[in-house]
């Protein structure tokens, strides 16, 4: 093998044939192309005539050059040049490939595989044996160090290899390798992750002792890692760390649900030279519990994904109902409203304070408790320091608590100093009137609270005016007195509502405002703190090396509390453990302190990057070029011999040109052409099928049952049309909006499913063009049975979303006397499987005779009424009128097709009375 730089010739000895080229030059120079032979009877007249030009018999120089080039190309191609074949395995001994397959490699695994395959290909050519050593090796794996394997087996292993969602472990690996039978004088290639893992240097030192070492890595990988998200008040804070501090760079973090819906996408930015960036994701409260996954967009590693479990989402609220320190007091009544307000959003538990504190509540609610005993107060303060939210309500007890000293200070576990007693607004003996809750502090959680109308407060406990009162007030009455005050205690909050949690003192407990306020207050808490669980949790779904959830691997072990946690590794892949309902997430946590430094290879080690390490074989290209030259040469020779002069028939020239053109094209375009031709053929088939006969068409939604119903419904309608009318449609056609031409169909039935995939821009353009050019689309949301749901039914919502890009004209219900009601049958309404809804068409303001509507929107699931099973019986029941209604559904179908095919000519009937009248006169 001969190597020039990174170019190598596999059959270098063939290059000696290049020596013949100069000889060929001489030979070709004196051998002109063979003359054309022509039969000519009048040859006698040509004797003794001298040709005007007495040039020597040589071929033109450009033909010579072309032929020499052709020869050189063929020789070079036979010598089999390969670019980048010199990849760090120059020796003859076995090849050791060390493969980093830890979590960092998921982002560019395909490039790694390509490099490894290149190495194996080369080993195959040179008939060398290989050692494949993965750096996530554990003693439980088979030992790859003892015996080399053949290239074909290595190929299989590499194809089966996947990145692992845990870190590499160089130190234990090195220990084993040092005592293994790895040969000295091997060529070592380390396909590295480019990260300075612990033990990296020792490993490099060891590998260099084995033989020549090449490290293949990306010099500065822009690896990004997601830190565990933190809940800070109502927002979730996410930190992203990158491997190397570099220039400014933006990234995006997505928060998604279990079924892949994106709840939020937040863009962030690393400042210049910073390694850490922090972003905040804020979600509406009712969506926050759907959040199961936060990930960095475009980063496919296990460390760029954080799975969230119930610990993150649950905010259990404790209602203190059995205090035990103030004697029996019927608190149940008070807690009733709080319970009702919180139950839909939080897990609400009632119990004595001690029990609740042990259960790690996110928020505790004390409804009108006077003085909290010392022991409890200390416990509560501690709990608040850790992030708990204590919500207290005013009431007679609290008012009475301050009566003794005339005020209640911070020792009373209230956020602001309270005056003793309470204030009554309105009543028989007062001029004052009950007041509205008037304004909210713009810093507090109640900022931007929607208006809930007039909520009257009749009694309240009053705060002493202090300097910090204003900043501690979250909500005020119309006269400016605080109604909700709060104080931060450590990570937690102490919140006081200055009125009761019952309708006794105010309307608050009866209004939606109460629910909203409580939810916002509870959301301040930072969740529960490591709920203790019992029993073992089996792996449920685990992440793979690309950060995708899937089946857990066989080696994953169950999680059992109380035992020593082995940390994320082969037996503990990151993912969910437990059951679908109760699951615990284990994430790959990267310690931001010790994290990941880019690897700086010591001097003396060859470092290559991925980009130019992929072996490129030039042989096919050279052969193709030679073939092209050969064909050109043929053409040129034909020209020189005069076979392409006007004497030869133009068809010959054409055929010659075509042959060259086609061969060249196929060379240039390669398999692409073939595929395109195939596609074109398929397209032709579709076009012929669609245009040779009239067909009804439906949009393929991807939902199997609905597509089947559409197909069979339209078939059945076609049958009925054939039987009853002059329209005899062939089998209906399913349309893929992304690829199929729509122009062949007069009517397209489009069932809308709630999970209908979104339209691409191309498809939307296509549908718009179809509607503009006179086509009719029947949108069927198939959800008449869902009517009455506020905000529209699911199908309608989806249709709204889908049609955002569609050019849908102003709509109106089908007016009486419209052509649709009399195109074939006279119809009053348009029942399908369901009935009773309106059918909407283009609003033409009474001028319905002039145009066919581009859209018809209804929700009666017509195909459902038409669809038949294989045995001919109808697939779906029709409600409420049964078979009579089904007949009407068919009649609607017939009218619809008539309308779509014949347009509005039946509208002329409108003028019949006038015409008759005129005739009569």
């Amino acid at each position: 093998m001969l190597s020039i730089g990174s170019l190598a010739f596999l059959n270098a000895w063939l290059l000696s044939a290049l020596l013949v080229v100069p000889a060929l030059w001489l030979f070709l120079r004196v051998t002109p192309p063979a003359p054309r032979r022509v039969l000519f009877p009048a040859i006698r007249l040509l004797y003794r005539a001298k040709s005007a030009e007495e040039k020597p018999d040589t071929a033109p120089w450009w033909l010579l050059v072309m032929r020499l080039l052709l020869t050189v190309l063929v020789i070079l191609a036979l010598a089999h040049p390969v670019f980048n074949a010199n990849d760090g395995t120059p020796g003859k001994g076995p090849v050791v490939i060390v493969i980093d397959d830890g979590w960092t490699t998921g982002r560019d695994w395909s490039r790694r595989t390509a490099v490894m395959q290149g190495l194996v290909n080369r080993a195959k050519r040179e008939n060398r044996r290989l050692f494949l050593i993965r750096t996530t090796w554990t003693p439980q794996d088979p030992r790859p160090f003892d015996k080399p394997i053949g290239p074909s087996r290595a190929e299989g292993l590499i194809n089966a290899m996947q990145p692992k969602p845990w870190p590499v472990r160089l130190v234990p690996l090195l220990e084993v390798m040092q005592v293994s039978g790895l040969p000295v004088s091997a060529d070592v290639v380390w396909v590295s992750n480019g990260v300075d893992d612990p033990g990296e240097l020792a490993m490099i030192t060891y590998l260099r002792r084995l033989g020549s070492l090449t490290i293949v890595m990306e010099p500065k990988p822009d690896l990004r890692v997601l830190m565990s998200p933190k809940r800070i008040g109502r927002v979730i804070q996410v930190d992203v760390i990158r491997l190397a501090a570099g220039p400014e760079m933006s990234f995006a973090v997505r928060a998604t649900t279990a079924d892949g819906r994106v709840l939020a996408r937040v863009e962030g930015q690393f400042s210049d030279g910073e390694r850490r960036a922090s972003i905040k994701v804020s979600l509406p409260i009712d969506l926050r519990n759907d959040l199961t996954r936060i990930e960095i967009e475009g980063e496919s590693t296990a460390a760029a994904v954080k799975l969230l479990d119930d610990r993150f989402k649950h905010q259990p609220v404790g209602l203190v109902s059995e205090t035990g320190f103030q004697g029996k007091q019927p608190l149940l009544d008070e807690l009733y409203f709080i319970d009702r307000a919180l139950a839909p959003f939080s897990e609400v538990t009632r119990g004595p304070l001690d029990a609740l504190l042990q259960d790690d509540m996110a928020a505790l609610i004390l409804a009108d408790v006077g003085i909290v005993p010392q022991t409890h107060r200390i416990k509560l303060l501690k709990w608040m320091e850790k992030g708990g939210v204590l919500v207290r309500f005013g009431g007679p007890s609290l008012a009475a608590a301050g009566l003794g000293t005339n005020h209640l200070g911070s020792e009373g576990l209230v956020p602001v100093r309270l005056r003793g007693g309470d204030r009554t607004l309105g009543g028989a003996l007062s001029w004052a009137r009950p007041l509205n809750i008037h304004s909210y502090n713009s810093d507090g959680p109640f900022a931007h609270m929607p208006s809930y109308g007039k909520v009257k407060v009749r009694r309240q406990v009053l705060a002493e005016p202090t300097i910090d009162l204003a900043s501690k007030t979250w909500a005020r009455l119309a006269d400016g007195t605080p109604i909700v005050t709060a104080e931060q205690r450590g990570k937690g909050w102490l919140v006081l509502f200055h009125t009761t949690a019952t309708p006794e003192w105010s309307d608050l407990a009866l209004s939606g405002l109460f629910v909203d306020m409580l939810r916002r207050v509870v959301a301040l808490s930072s969740g529960t703190f490591g709920a203790a669980r019992e029993g073992t949790l089996l792996p449920f779904e685990t992440l793979d090396g690309f950060g995708v959830l899937g089946e857990p691997p066989a080696r994953a072990r169950a999680l059992s509390p109380g035992k020593v946690d082995p940390g994320v590794g082969p037996t503990r892949p990151p993912g969910y453990y437990g059951t679908e309902l109760e699951r615990l997430s284990i994430n790959l946590e990267i310690d931001p302190g010790s994290l990941i430094e880019p690897l700086a290879a010591p001097s003396g080690v060859m470092v290559r990057s991925f980009a130019n390490n992929v072996e490129t074989d030039f042989q096919p290209v050279l052969f193709a070029a030679a073939l092209f030259l050969f064909l050109t040469d043929m053409l040129a020779t034909m020209l020189l011999r005069g076979q392409l002069t006007p004497t030869s028939s133009p068809t010959d020239t054409l055929i010659g040109g075509l042959v060259i053109g086609i061969v060249t094209l196929s060379l240039v375009v390669g398999t692409g052409t073939a595929r395109a031709q195939l596609l074109e053929k398929e397209g032709d088939e579709f076009r012929l099928k669609a245009s040779l006969e009239t067909r009804l068409a439906y949009v393929i939604t991807g939902n199997g049952a609905i597509d089947k119903a559409s197909k069979s419904g339209l078939s059945s309608l076609s049958e009925v049309l054939t039987r009853r009318t002059a329209i005899e449609p062939a089998d209906p056609v399913g349309l893929n909006l992304e690829t199929d031409e729509l122009a062949f169909f007069a009517l397209i039935y489009w069932p809308i499913t709630p999970d209908h995939p979104a339209l691409s821009e191309k498809a939307a353009r296509r549908v718009n063009a179809y509607m503009h050019n006179g086509g009719t689309v029947l949108f069927d949301t198939r959800d008449q049975f869902e009517r009455g749901i506020p905000g529209g039914t699911s199908g309608l919502r989806r249709l709204r979303a889908l049609s955002r890009d569609l050019d849908i004209p102003a709509l109106a219900p089908v007016p009486p006397g419209h052509v649709l009601t009399k195109a074939f049958y006279l119809l009053k309404d348009f029942p399908g499987r369901f009935t009773g809804g309106l059918v909407w068409i283009h609003d033409l303001e009474e001028d319905h005779a002039s145009e066919v509507t581009p859209v018809i929107i209804g929700r009666h699931d017509w195909v459902g009424a038409w669809a038949r099973g294989q045995n001919g019986s109808f697939l779906y029941p029709v409600v409420p009128d049964g078979e009579a209604q089904r007949e009407m559904a068919f009649r609607f179908g017939i009218n619809l097709v008539m309308y779509a095919l014949t347009g509005n000519y039946k509208a002329d009937q409108v003028h019949v009375p006038e015409i008759l009248e005129r005739l009569g006169q």
Partner: protein, 285 residues
Amino acid sequence: MIREQSEAIAGRLPPLQVRAERAAQTVWQGMHGRRRPGRGEAFWQFRHYESFDDSRRIDWRCSARGRDVYVRETEWEAAQSVWIWCDASPSMRYRSRRDVPEKIDRAGVLAVALAILLVEGGENVAPLGEGMPARGGRSGLNIFIETLLASSAKTSRPPLEPLPQYAQVVLISDFLESAETYRELIAEFATSGCGGHCLQVLDPSEESFPYGGRIQFEGTEEETPRLLRRAESLREIYQDRLAEHRATLKELTSTADWNFATHGTDSSPETALLPLFTTMTRSAI
């Protein structure tokens, strides 16, 4: 063998004859023969005996029917004998393009068409070189055609045959041999009192020499091949030479009071047939 040949001939005959008849028909429409009394076999009319009539010419059977004496007149028959020769040498089996006929094909069509016209006009025809007497009538025509097609002579030189005086000779060939070859022959015919017509049939490529590039030209009759490097450079020389050759031929035919005409296979046969036939009938009268 004989059978094969005759089948081949029979296969070729109808289209040839049909094409020849079609060509002859076209020409005939403008020609009204010598419809007048004269020497001949066929009855023309009875007329009253005149004093200058030979008494032997009185038709007694007719005269016996009435009082007048009638003379039976026959149609004037200047039965010309025409000997037609058609070159069948290999050089005639040539065409440069697919849309023109081979020269021999065209020559055959012209010969047969001419024969048909002549026979229609009451002349006698015979192929030259077969030692056959000239015959007229439909049967004579058939014999002519069969003999012409079966003719085994493949020389490019017309055979010399003793012909009666005032016979007409028609030579259809490409006349590509040297002019001297023909000079002697034509002189021989002319001295024996025969009139004659030469029709040179050439392929369009032989007229225009549309070749270019490096070409090896090969003859049809075992001539030495000629290699041209740039054939297009010889085009003018060739055309000059062809004109020269024609001039010589024209000169030597006119000295014998013969006619010389040329015909390209790319034009229709009628274009050659009409002038040929016109000159022939004119010369015959």
